[in-house]
Amino acid sequence: MNAALRVLRKPYGTLARSLALVVLAAVILFLVSEALGAYDDLQLANGAYYFVVLAGLTVLTGLSGQISLGHGALMAVGAYTVALLIGNEHWPLVPALLAATGIAALVGTAVGAAATRLRGPYLAGATLAFAIGLPALADKYTGTFGGENGLSINPPTPPSALGASFPLERWEAWIACVGALFVLFAMNNLKSSGTGRAFRAVRDDEIAASLCGLRVGRVQTLAFVLSAACAGLGGGLLAVVLQLAAPGAFQLGLSLSLLTAIVLGGLGSLTGAIWGAAVLVLLPSWTNDLAHSFSLPGNVTANLPLAIYGLVLIGAMIAWPSGIQGAVRAVALRLPARRASGGS
């Protein structure tokens, strides 16, 4: 045990720590997915691809200090890429997902490069315009993009090795979770790496960072590209899980919900991204149940999740800037301190 701990503290310990984390998470997810029924497995899948997007977004906003309201549109890029490649070109799953990640990353490069000259509200406004404008392309080129109805794809079939009656939902959950684990590994490493430190340095003081030799523009663009890649992967996974890529799923509300999720979870925190993903998945069903038990009219029910998002955003910034993870950390800090281990 001591030997293992010593390994984890070494310089390459970050990699080992991330690996340990991922393995642990994989085991937990496997057990959970086995225990859940079809509906809940689907929820798990949804949560997993939301986590993929949120992990990238929280790194962008929390670590790199850049706000983006356009990640819903980047998800759309990933989703439509997968839908076109799997549906029209019959690509296999993994290459299609990789392509989605890559193409979204490319778009992210363009957006990110433009974004390096923008700050705060200007960046928000530009990405907002992007979020509202990009889905319009689907309307313009209805031939390729299927217009309002979007593009549908065949569900991914579980390999025969798992047995003929293996539930589709669990297979989808596994696919999405593998994506989530991969992103978890990558982002966790990133946070502790030199690149992660560069992100923070540029966020905190651009002038000082550039005086230390950091190319501010490149660092910021890199953050955008990585988060766009995550959004593309998340969108691709969404297309696989829902078997559909349609404009209705990628309206402005999505980008705003993503923002709410990372604010709620705690900016810059990967654990927070997990909380955020959970909220995104569970809140609509909870509010629906709430509405039904109180027999609330249709208008109220439909708008309740959004109203709650709005309140969360406002409340979080005013009263609770570090989100759920911050609150958890604050509680943890009040617990009796562990005995200091000698010489770390």
Binding site: R119, G125, L128, A129, L259, N299, G310, V312, I318
Partner: protein, 292 residues
Amino acid sequence: MTRFIDLTLNGISTGAVYAAVALALVLIWRATRIVNFAQGGMLMITTFIASSVINTSGSYWLGFVVALASGLVLGAIVERLLIRKVEGGPPLNAVIVALGLLVLLQASAGMIWGNTPRSFPPAFSIRGYDVGGTRVLFSPNDTFIVLVVIGVAVGLAALFRGTAIGLKLRAAAFQPEVARLLGVRVGRMFTLGWALAALVGSLAGLLVAPAVFVGPNQFDPILIFGFTAAVLGGLDSPVGAVVGGIALGLVLSYVSGYEGASLVTLAALVVLLAVLMIRPGGLFSSTRERRV
């Protein structure tokens, strides 16, 4: 050729509305250094209120006045209760609060009035003028829109440049701490700035509602266009807001006419990015843009 003229005239009248939204954004930016992303939501609410008043009372102008008054009140309340808490802090916080307010307002409107867009009467006839036998795409209502917006812009410019209150508003915006030392009640100035901005925003909502219909999400594009126009003209410049609005209106009108309406928002994005890349301070900026 007539198509070009029609598109130009159309661009001017839609541009006037963008100018009004841009003015509201510029006002708040000048007063409190915040971009009010909730502006679209606020003017949507006041337009809904006007719609309800018009439906119950039958009088357009009563609804008009009530909308403006509720705009004043809404702006003051929002600043005093919400924005006050994030003024002067990191810009990200203010952006998120404004977005949260936008979402909340849209959801609330959906809950109260429903999500189905409803129609809204114009102030005057929307039948185009008859010019030498042809009907032009510019109506008495359009004339009203353009005149009102120009009037408001001139009024605001006079307020800011020529009055003591305007001086206080500017001092409070540029250097709040110093202004306090000089006796300016900075808090009140911030509230006033937001109230005025919301008033102008309500006006924009009333002017554009007949075209876009009234619904929780109907004004989203207007926010984008208003923001683009404000950036184009320079967030610090009311004159810029008007010029930017009209210019953008023209550009988008041509895009819509020659390329199709669905590309309009993307076109606005292109304009926005072009301005931010080439001349971040906008066309009329007198202050140097913040270059880090």
